[in-house]
Symmetry: C2
Subunit: 215 residues, 2 copies
DNA sequence: CTTTGCATTAACAGAATTGTTAAACAACTT
DNA sequence: AAGTTGTTTAACAATTCTGTTAATGCAAAG
Protein backbone atom coordinates (compact mmCIF):
# COMPACT_ATOMS: atom_id res chain seq x y z
CA UNK A 1 0.00 0.00 0.00
CA UNK A 2 2.89 2.32 0.72
CA UNK A 3 4.32 1.10 -2.54
CA UNK A 4 1.28 1.92 -4.56
CA UNK A 5 0.88 5.33 -2.95
CA UNK A 6 4.47 6.03 -3.87
CA UNK A 7 3.88 4.94 -7.40
CA UNK A 8 0.88 7.21 -7.59
CA UNK A 9 2.85 10.13 -6.23
CA UNK A 10 5.67 9.47 -8.62
CA UNK A 11 3.26 9.36 -11.55
CA UNK A 12 1.71 12.58 -10.41
CA UNK A 13 5.07 14.19 -9.88
CA UNK A 14 6.00 13.01 -13.32
CA UNK A 15 3.13 14.81 -15.01
CA UNK A 16 3.52 17.85 -12.85
CA UNK A 17 7.22 17.82 -13.54
CA UNK A 18 6.71 17.36 -17.26
CA UNK A 19 4.46 20.40 -17.33
CA UNK A 20 6.94 22.41 -15.28
CA UNK A 21 9.80 21.44 -17.56
CA UNK A 22 7.84 22.34 -20.69
CA UNK A 23 6.67 25.58 -19.09
CA UNK A 24 10.21 26.52 -18.18
CA UNK A 25 11.34 26.10 -21.77
CA UNK A 26 8.41 28.02 -23.18
CA UNK A 27 8.56 30.90 -20.71
CA UNK A 28 12.34 31.26 -20.94
CA UNK A 29 12.21 31.29 -24.73
CA UNK A 30 9.13 33.44 -25.28
CA UNK A 31 8.38 35.28 -22.05
CA UNK A 32 5.02 35.44 -20.36
CA UNK A 33 3.18 37.18 -23.19
CA UNK A 34 4.61 35.03 -25.94
CA UNK A 35 4.08 31.73 -24.14
CA UNK A 36 0.95 29.66 -24.81
CA UNK A 37 -0.51 27.28 -22.24
CA UNK A 38 -1.72 25.02 -25.05
CA UNK A 39 1.77 24.63 -26.48
CA UNK A 40 3.19 24.04 -23.01
CA UNK A 41 0.63 21.25 -22.51
CA UNK A 42 1.40 19.83 -25.93
CA UNK A 43 5.15 19.86 -25.27
CA UNK A 44 4.54 18.16 -21.93
CA UNK A 45 2.39 15.52 -23.62
CA UNK A 46 -0.78 16.25 -21.63
CA UNK A 47 -4.14 17.82 -22.41
CA UNK A 48 -4.34 21.48 -21.60
CA UNK A 49 -7.04 20.78 -19.04
CA UNK A 50 -4.40 18.93 -17.03
CA UNK A 51 -2.27 22.00 -16.94
CA UNK A 52 -5.15 23.88 -15.36
CA UNK A 53 -5.86 20.98 -13.03
CA UNK A 54 -2.35 21.11 -11.61
CA UNK A 55 -1.61 24.81 -11.76
CA UNK A 56 -5.01 26.48 -11.96
CA UNK A 57 -3.90 29.43 -14.14
CA UNK A 58 -1.14 30.46 -16.50
CA UNK A 59 -0.23 33.13 -13.99
CA UNK A 60 0.33 30.62 -11.17
CA UNK A 61 2.36 28.31 -13.40
CA UNK A 62 4.46 31.27 -14.45
CA UNK A 63 5.06 32.27 -10.86
CA UNK A 64 6.49 28.86 -10.09
CA UNK A 65 8.99 29.25 -12.92
CA UNK A 66 9.77 32.86 -12.18
CA UNK A 67 10.45 32.24 -8.51
CA UNK A 68 12.92 29.45 -9.21
CA UNK A 69 14.63 31.45 -11.94
CA UNK A 70 14.94 34.50 -9.80
CA UNK A 71 16.56 32.43 -7.07
CA UNK A 72 19.02 31.04 -9.59
CA UNK A 73 19.85 34.54 -10.74
CA UNK A 74 20.42 35.74 -7.19
CA UNK A 75 22.62 32.72 -6.52
CA UNK A 76 24.71 33.45 -9.59
CA UNK A 77 25.18 37.04 -8.53
CA UNK A 78 26.37 35.98 -5.09
CA UNK A 79 28.86 33.62 -6.71
CA UNK A 80 30.42 36.60 -8.48
CA UNK A 81 31.63 37.98 -5.15
CA UNK A 82 34.10 35.14 -4.99
CA UNK A 83 35.55 33.23 -2.04
CA UNK A 84 36.32 35.62 0.85
CA UNK A 85 39.09 33.31 2.08
CA UNK A 86 41.25 33.91 -0.96
CA UNK A 87 43.43 36.91 -1.55
CA UNK A 88 41.55 39.85 -2.96
CA UNK A 89 42.93 39.36 -6.46
CA UNK A 90 42.23 35.65 -6.49
CA UNK A 91 38.84 36.28 -4.94
CA UNK A 92 37.81 38.62 -7.75
CA UNK A 93 39.36 36.53 -10.50
CA UNK A 94 37.62 33.42 -9.20
CA UNK A 95 34.33 35.25 -8.77
CA UNK A 96 34.31 36.37 -12.38
CA UNK A 97 35.01 32.85 -13.57
CA UNK A 98 32.34 31.28 -11.37
CA UNK A 99 29.77 33.79 -12.49
CA UNK A 100 30.68 33.43 -16.15
CA UNK A 101 30.42 29.64 -16.00
CA UNK A 102 27.10 29.87 -14.20
CA UNK A 103 25.63 32.11 -16.88
CA UNK A 104 27.15 29.92 -19.60
CA UNK A 105 25.14 27.04 -18.12
CA UNK A 106 21.99 29.18 -18.00
CA UNK A 107 22.34 31.49 -20.99
CA UNK A 108 18.63 32.41 -21.19
CA UNK A 109 18.39 33.28 -17.51
CA UNK A 110 19.50 36.92 -17.38
CA UNK A 111 17.32 38.16 -20.22
CA UNK A 112 14.30 36.36 -18.82
CA UNK A 113 14.77 37.87 -15.38
CA UNK A 114 15.44 41.34 -16.73
CA UNK A 115 12.43 41.33 -19.02
CA UNK A 116 10.17 40.10 -16.26
CA UNK A 117 11.36 42.75 -13.81
CA UNK A 118 10.86 45.46 -16.39
CA UNK A 119 7.34 44.40 -17.27
CA UNK A 120 6.19 43.74 -13.69
CA UNK A 121 8.39 45.57 -11.20
CA UNK A 122 5.84 45.32 -8.36
CA UNK A 123 6.26 41.62 -7.83
CA UNK A 124 9.92 41.95 -6.87
CA UNK A 125 9.68 44.46 -4.07
CA UNK A 126 9.58 41.69 -1.46
CA UNK A 127 12.26 39.63 -3.13
CA UNK A 128 14.52 42.65 -3.34
CA UNK A 129 14.18 43.51 0.31
CA UNK A 130 15.18 39.93 1.17
CA UNK A 131 18.12 39.96 -1.26
CA UNK A 132 19.33 43.43 -0.44
CA UNK A 133 20.48 42.51 3.03
CA UNK A 134 22.64 39.67 1.75
CA UNK A 135 24.09 41.68 -1.13
CA UNK A 136 24.78 44.66 1.12
CA UNK A 137 26.78 42.61 3.60
CA UNK A 138 28.73 40.70 0.95
CA UNK A 139 29.42 43.97 -0.78
CA UNK A 140 30.59 45.69 2.41
CA UNK A 141 32.89 42.75 3.04
CA UNK A 142 34.34 43.02 -0.45
CA UNK A 143 34.76 46.78 -0.16
CA UNK A 144 36.70 46.33 3.07
CA UNK A 145 39.05 43.82 1.44
CA UNK A 146 39.55 46.13 -1.50
CA UNK A 147 40.35 49.07 0.77
CA UNK A 148 42.84 47.02 2.80
CA UNK A 149 44.60 45.72 -0.29
CA UNK A 150 44.66 49.22 -1.75
CA UNK A 151 46.33 50.53 1.39
CA UNK A 152 48.98 47.84 0.99
CA UNK A 153 49.41 49.02 -2.60
CA UNK A 154 48.41 45.67 -4.07
CA UNK A 155 45.53 47.03 -6.12
CA UNK A 156 43.79 50.22 -7.09
CA UNK A 157 41.15 51.60 -4.74
CA UNK A 158 37.77 51.26 -6.44
CA UNK A 159 34.08 51.33 -5.54
CA UNK A 160 33.01 47.70 -5.08
CA UNK A 161 29.55 48.40 -6.49
CA UNK A 162 30.99 49.86 -9.67
CA UNK A 163 33.30 46.89 -9.98
CA UNK A 164 30.34 44.58 -9.49
CA UNK A 165 28.36 46.31 -12.25
CA UNK A 166 31.34 46.02 -14.59
CA UNK A 167 31.67 42.31 -13.93
CA UNK A 168 27.95 41.74 -14.47
CA UNK A 169 28.09 43.79 -17.66
CA UNK A 170 30.99 41.93 -19.19
CA UNK A 171 29.79 38.48 -18.22
CA UNK A 172 26.07 38.82 -18.89
CA UNK A 173 26.08 40.90 -22.06
CA UNK A 174 28.05 38.24 -23.89
CA UNK A 175 25.09 35.89 -23.56
CA UNK A 176 22.25 38.37 -23.86
CA UNK A 177 23.62 39.75 -27.09
CA UNK A 178 24.93 36.51 -28.50
CA UNK A 179 22.45 36.19 -31.39
CA UNK A 180 22.86 39.89 -32.01
CA UNK A 181 26.64 39.85 -32.19
CA UNK A 182 27.26 36.48 -33.75
CA UNK A 183 26.44 37.40 -37.36
CA UNK A 184 28.65 40.51 -37.34
CA UNK A 185 31.64 38.92 -35.62
CA UNK A 186 32.74 36.55 -38.35
CA UNK A 187 35.00 33.69 -37.34
CA UNK A 188 35.57 35.09 -33.85
CA UNK A 189 32.31 33.54 -32.68
CA UNK A 190 32.15 30.64 -35.12
CA UNK A 191 33.24 28.08 -32.52
CA UNK A 192 31.03 28.79 -29.53
CA UNK A 193 33.10 26.87 -26.98
CA UNK A 194 36.34 28.48 -28.06
CA UNK A 195 34.78 31.92 -28.12
CA UNK A 196 33.35 31.56 -24.62
CA UNK A 197 36.74 30.50 -23.25
CA UNK A 198 38.40 33.48 -24.91
CA UNK A 199 35.66 35.77 -23.73
CA UNK A 200 35.93 34.63 -20.13
CA UNK A 201 39.67 35.23 -20.22
CA UNK A 202 39.09 38.65 -21.75
CA UNK A 203 36.61 39.63 -19.04
CA UNK A 204 39.02 38.52 -16.32
CA UNK A 205 41.87 40.40 -17.98
CA UNK A 206 39.76 43.53 -18.27
CA UNK A 207 38.78 43.56 -14.60
CA UNK A 208 42.29 42.64 -13.44
CA UNK A 209 43.59 45.58 -15.45
CA UNK A 210 41.00 47.86 -13.91
CA UNK A 211 42.08 47.06 -10.37
CA UNK A 212 45.71 47.28 -11.52
CA UNK A 213 46.47 43.75 -10.49
CA UNK A 214 49.46 42.10 -12.12
CA UNK A 215 48.30 39.17 -14.30
CA UNK B 1 -6.21 74.65 -53.47
CA UNK B 2 -2.57 73.86 -52.85
CA UNK B 3 -3.18 75.26 -49.42
CA UNK B 4 -6.03 72.96 -48.70
CA UNK B 5 -4.19 69.95 -50.07
CA UNK B 6 -1.32 70.76 -47.72
CA UNK B 7 -3.67 71.07 -44.81
CA UNK B 8 -5.17 67.73 -45.68
CA UNK B 9 -1.75 66.11 -45.89
CA UNK B 10 -0.69 67.61 -42.62
CA UNK B 11 -3.86 66.38 -40.97
CA UNK B 12 -3.30 62.95 -42.40
CA UNK B 13 0.34 62.92 -41.43
CA UNK B 14 -0.73 64.01 -37.98
CA UNK B 15 -2.96 60.99 -37.46
CA UNK B 16 -0.47 58.63 -39.01
CA UNK B 17 2.27 60.17 -36.92
CA UNK B 18 0.21 59.98 -33.77
CA UNK B 19 -0.34 56.29 -34.35
CA UNK B 20 3.35 55.73 -35.07
CA UNK B 21 4.36 57.61 -31.94
CA UNK B 22 1.94 55.66 -29.78
CA UNK B 23 3.00 52.39 -31.42
CA UNK B 24 6.65 53.16 -30.77
CA UNK B 25 5.98 53.66 -27.08
CA UNK B 26 3.87 50.55 -26.78
CA UNK B 27 6.21 48.27 -28.74
CA UNK B 28 9.34 49.53 -26.99
CA UNK B 29 7.75 49.09 -23.58
CA UNK B 30 5.96 45.78 -24.10
CA UNK B 31 7.40 44.11 -27.18
CA UNK B 32 5.39 42.70 -30.05
CA UNK B 33 3.53 40.07 -28.03
CA UNK B 34 2.70 42.35 -25.14
CA UNK B 35 1.56 45.27 -27.30
CA UNK B 36 -2.15 45.70 -28.09
CA UNK B 37 -3.35 47.47 -31.21
CA UNK B 38 -6.39 48.71 -29.32
CA UNK B 39 -4.29 50.42 -26.67
CA UNK B 40 -2.02 51.91 -29.34
CA UNK B 41 -5.11 53.36 -31.04
CA UNK B 42 -6.44 54.63 -27.74
CA UNK B 43 -3.11 56.27 -26.85
CA UNK B 44 -3.04 57.87 -30.30
CA UNK B 45 -6.59 59.14 -29.86
CA UNK B 46 -8.08 57.33 -32.85
CA UNK B 47 -10.45 54.43 -33.33
CA UNK B 48 -8.69 51.12 -33.80
CA UNK B 49 -10.20 50.84 -37.28
CA UNK B 50 -8.06 53.85 -38.26
CA UNK B 51 -4.95 52.00 -37.21
CA UNK B 52 -5.87 49.20 -39.61
CA UNK B 53 -6.78 51.71 -42.28
CA UNK B 54 -3.33 53.30 -42.21
CA UNK B 55 -1.18 50.27 -41.43
CA UNK B 56 -3.30 47.31 -42.44
CA UNK B 57 -1.98 44.91 -39.76
CA UNK B 58 -0.22 44.94 -36.41
CA UNK B 59 2.66 43.19 -38.11
CA UNK B 60 3.11 45.95 -40.70
CA UNK B 61 2.90 48.67 -38.08
CA UNK B 62 5.48 46.80 -36.03
CA UNK B 63 7.78 46.51 -38.99
CA UNK B 64 7.81 50.28 -39.43
CA UNK B 65 8.90 50.69 -35.83
CA UNK B 66 11.37 47.85 -35.89
CA UNK B 67 13.10 49.06 -39.04
CA UNK B 68 13.65 52.53 -37.68
CA UNK B 69 14.82 51.21 -34.33
CA UNK B 70 17.22 48.79 -35.89
CA UNK B 71 18.72 51.60 -37.95
CA UNK B 72 19.15 53.63 -34.80
CA UNK B 73 20.87 50.71 -33.13
CA UNK B 74 23.23 50.22 -36.05
CA UNK B 75 24.00 53.93 -36.07
CA UNK B 76 24.83 53.88 -32.36
CA UNK B 77 27.15 50.94 -32.84
CA UNK B 78 29.02 52.70 -35.62
CA UNK B 79 29.43 55.74 -33.37
CA UNK B 80 31.27 53.53 -30.87
CA UNK B 81 34.13 53.10 -33.35
CA UNK B 82 35.02 56.74 -32.78
CA UNK B 83 36.56 59.30 -35.06
CA UNK B 84 39.34 57.74 -37.21
CA UNK B 85 41.10 61.10 -37.47
CA UNK B 86 41.92 61.21 -33.80
CA UNK B 87 44.76 59.38 -32.12
CA UNK B 88 43.90 55.80 -31.27
CA UNK B 89 43.45 56.52 -27.58
CA UNK B 90 41.29 59.57 -28.17
CA UNK B 91 39.40 57.70 -30.83
CA UNK B 92 38.44 54.89 -28.45
CA UNK B 93 37.77 57.20 -25.53
CA UNK B 94 35.54 59.38 -27.71
CA UNK B 95 33.79 56.38 -29.20
CA UNK B 96 32.82 55.03 -25.80
CA UNK B 97 31.46 58.42 -24.77
CA UNK B 98 29.46 58.89 -27.96
CA UNK B 99 27.98 55.44 -27.71
CA UNK B 100 27.15 55.82 -24.04
CA UNK B 101 25.37 59.12 -24.63
CA UNK B 102 23.46 57.68 -27.54
CA UNK B 103 22.16 54.80 -25.45
CA UNK B 104 21.42 57.17 -22.56
CA UNK B 105 19.12 59.04 -24.97
CA UNK B 106 17.50 55.79 -26.11
CA UNK B 107 17.60 53.58 -23.05
CA UNK B 108 14.88 51.16 -24.23
CA UNK B 109 16.50 50.62 -27.62
CA UNK B 110 19.01 47.82 -26.96
CA UNK B 111 16.65 45.51 -25.10
CA UNK B 112 13.96 45.98 -27.72
CA UNK B 113 16.33 45.15 -30.56
CA UNK B 114 17.84 42.17 -28.76
CA UNK B 115 14.47 40.71 -27.83
CA UNK B 116 13.20 41.11 -31.35
CA UNK B 117 16.25 39.46 -32.89
CA UNK B 118 16.00 36.57 -30.48
CA UNK B 119 12.33 35.94 -31.15
CA UNK B 120 12.50 36.38 -34.94
CA UNK B 121 16.05 35.91 -36.20
CA UNK B 122 14.97 35.28 -39.81
CA UNK B 123 13.93 38.86 -40.48
CA UNK B 124 17.42 40.18 -39.86
CA UNK B 125 19.40 38.09 -42.28
CA UNK B 126 19.17 40.76 -44.96
CA UNK B 127 19.83 43.61 -42.58
CA UNK B 128 22.86 41.81 -41.23
CA UNK B 129 24.40 41.23 -44.63
CA UNK B 130 24.04 44.94 -45.34
CA UNK B 131 25.49 45.93 -41.98
CA UNK B 132 28.25 43.41 -41.89
CA UNK B 133 30.17 45.03 -44.71
CA UNK B 134 30.23 48.39 -42.97
CA UNK B 135 31.12 46.95 -39.58
CA UNK B 136 33.84 44.75 -41.09
CA UNK B 137 35.58 47.65 -42.78
CA UNK B 138 35.32 49.96 -39.77
CA UNK B 139 36.60 47.15 -37.61
CA UNK B 140 39.53 46.37 -39.92
CA UNK B 141 40.42 50.06 -39.89
CA UNK B 142 40.35 50.12 -36.09
CA UNK B 143 42.39 46.94 -35.82
CA UNK B 144 45.06 48.45 -38.11
CA UNK B 145 45.27 51.58 -35.93
CA UNK B 146 45.51 49.44 -32.81
CA UNK B 147 48.29 47.33 -34.30
CA UNK B 148 50.25 50.40 -35.40
CA UNK B 149 49.93 52.06 -32.01
CA UNK B 150 50.89 48.79 -30.31
CA UNK B 151 54.04 48.60 -32.43
CA UNK B 152 54.92 52.10 -31.27
CA UNK B 153 54.38 50.90 -27.68
CA UNK B 154 51.55 53.36 -27.03
CA UNK B 155 48.97 50.74 -26.17
CA UNK B 156 48.51 47.04 -25.65
CA UNK B 157 47.86 44.87 -28.72
CA UNK B 158 44.28 43.62 -28.50
CA UNK B 159 41.66 42.08 -30.76
CA UNK B 160 39.44 44.94 -31.94
CA UNK B 161 36.35 42.74 -31.95
CA UNK B 162 36.91 41.73 -28.33
CA UNK B 163 37.42 45.35 -27.44
CA UNK B 164 34.21 46.22 -29.25
CA UNK B 165 32.23 43.59 -27.33
CA UNK B 166 33.63 44.90 -24.06
CA UNK B 167 32.59 48.44 -24.88
CA UNK B 168 29.11 47.32 -25.88
CA UNK B 169 28.84 45.24 -22.73
CA UNK B 170 29.82 48.00 -20.36
CA UNK B 171 27.74 50.69 -22.04
CA UNK B 172 24.60 48.76 -22.84
CA UNK B 173 24.24 46.59 -19.75
CA UNK B 174 24.01 49.66 -17.54
CA UNK B 175 20.72 50.54 -19.22
CA UNK B 176 19.33 47.08 -19.83
CA UNK B 177 19.76 46.13 -16.20
CA UNK B 178 18.92 49.49 -14.68
CA UNK B 179 15.62 48.42 -13.06
CA UNK B 180 17.30 45.22 -11.98
CA UNK B 181 20.32 46.85 -10.34
CA UNK B 182 18.75 50.00 -8.96
CA UNK B 183 17.05 48.48 -5.89
CA UNK B 184 20.20 46.64 -4.76
CA UNK B 185 22.63 49.48 -5.33
CA UNK B 186 21.46 51.84 -2.60
CA UNK B 187 22.51 55.47 -2.88
CA UNK B 188 24.89 54.77 -5.76
CA UNK B 189 22.05 54.91 -8.26
CA UNK B 190 19.73 57.21 -6.33
CA UNK B 191 20.56 60.22 -8.52
CA UNK B 192 20.23 58.93 -12.07
CA UNK B 193 22.11 61.76 -13.76
CA UNK B 194 25.02 61.60 -11.37
CA UNK B 195 25.17 57.83 -11.60
CA UNK B 196 25.23 57.86 -15.40
CA UNK B 197 28.07 60.38 -15.43
CA UNK B 198 30.05 58.25 -12.99
CA UNK B 199 29.24 55.11 -14.93
CA UNK B 200 30.38 56.60 -18.22
CA UNK B 201 33.66 57.63 -16.62
CA UNK B 202 34.04 54.15 -15.13
CA UNK B 203 33.48 52.48 -18.51
CA UNK B 204 36.05 54.74 -20.16
CA UNK B 205 38.53 54.11 -17.34
CA UNK B 206 38.01 50.36 -17.62
CA UNK B 207 38.66 50.25 -21.35
CA UNK B 208 41.59 52.69 -21.14
CA UNK B 209 43.11 50.40 -18.53
CA UNK B 210 42.58 47.38 -20.71
CA UNK B 211 44.50 48.89 -23.61
CA UNK B 212 47.13 50.13 -21.11
CA UNK B 213 46.65 53.75 -22.14
CA UNK B 214 47.75 56.32 -19.61
CA UNK B 215 44.71 58.25 -18.29
C1' DC C 1 -25.02 70.75 -57.32
C1' DT C 2 -23.37 66.50 -58.08
C1' DT C 3 -19.73 63.47 -58.39
C1' DT C 4 -15.37 61.61 -56.87
C1' DG C 5 -12.15 60.05 -53.63
C1' DC C 6 -10.31 59.68 -49.35
C1' DA C 7 -11.18 59.64 -44.20
C1' DT C 8 -13.83 58.03 -40.41
C1' DT C 9 -16.96 55.42 -37.57
C1' DA C 10 -19.55 51.72 -35.58
C1' DA C 11 -20.79 47.40 -35.76
C1' DC C 12 -19.55 42.93 -36.75
C1' DA C 13 -16.83 38.50 -37.72
C1' DG C 14 -13.28 35.12 -36.85
C1' DA C 15 -9.67 33.23 -34.49
C1' DA C 16 -7.00 32.25 -30.70
C1' DT C 17 -6.52 31.58 -25.99
C1' DT C 18 -7.57 30.87 -21.28
C1' DG C 19 -10.30 28.67 -18.17
C1' DT C 20 -14.41 25.42 -16.56
C1' DT C 21 -17.28 21.42 -16.00
C1' DA C 22 -19.43 17.11 -16.00
C1' DA C 23 -18.66 12.65 -16.89
C1' DA C 24 -15.54 8.64 -17.31
C1' DC C 25 -11.76 6.24 -15.31
C1' DA C 26 -8.41 3.92 -12.38
C1' DA C 27 -6.60 2.38 -8.13
C1' DC C 28 -7.20 1.39 -3.71
C1' DT C 29 -10.10 0.49 0.68
C1' DT C 30 -13.43 -1.71 3.25
C1' DA D 1 -18.65 -5.82 -4.89
C1' DA D 2 -19.51 -1.09 -3.59
C1' DG D 3 -17.56 3.06 -2.39
C1' DT D 4 -14.00 6.60 -2.17
C1' DT D 5 -10.58 9.51 -3.95
C1' DG D 6 -7.88 11.69 -7.00
C1' DT D 7 -6.87 11.83 -12.19
C1' DT D 8 -8.03 12.44 -16.95
C1' DT D 9 -10.67 13.62 -20.99
C1' DA D 10 -13.63 15.99 -24.22
C1' DA D 11 -16.64 19.33 -24.91
C1' DC D 12 -17.91 23.82 -23.94
C1' DA D 13 -17.91 28.84 -22.36
C1' DA D 14 -16.09 33.44 -22.20
C1' DT D 15 -13.10 36.73 -23.29
C1' DT D 16 -9.81 39.20 -25.72
C1' DC D 17 -7.77 40.64 -29.74
C1' DT D 18 -7.09 41.34 -34.62
C1' DG D 19 -9.01 42.48 -38.75
C1' DT D 20 -13.17 43.65 -42.01
C1' DT D 21 -17.05 45.93 -43.94
C1' DA D 22 -20.70 48.76 -45.05
C1' DA D 23 -22.45 53.09 -44.24
C1' DT D 24 -21.45 58.02 -43.44
C1' DG D 25 -19.00 62.35 -43.71
C1' DC D 26 -16.55 65.78 -46.00
C1' DA D 27 -13.75 68.50 -48.93
C1' DA D 28 -12.33 69.44 -53.59
C1' DA D 29 -13.24 69.37 -58.69
C1' DG D 30 -16.00 69.50 -62.52
Amino acid sequence: MLNSKNMENKEKQNKEQQILTAAEQEFLAKGYDGARTTSIAKAAGVTHAMLHYYFRTKEQLFERIVDSKFSLMAQSMISAFGNPNHSIVERIRGGIGLHFDFIADNPQLPLFVINEIISRPERYDILYSRMRGIVDSVYANLQRDIDLAAERGEIERIDARMLFISIMSLNIFTFIAYPFMEPIMGELMADREAFLEARKAENIATIMCRIKAKE
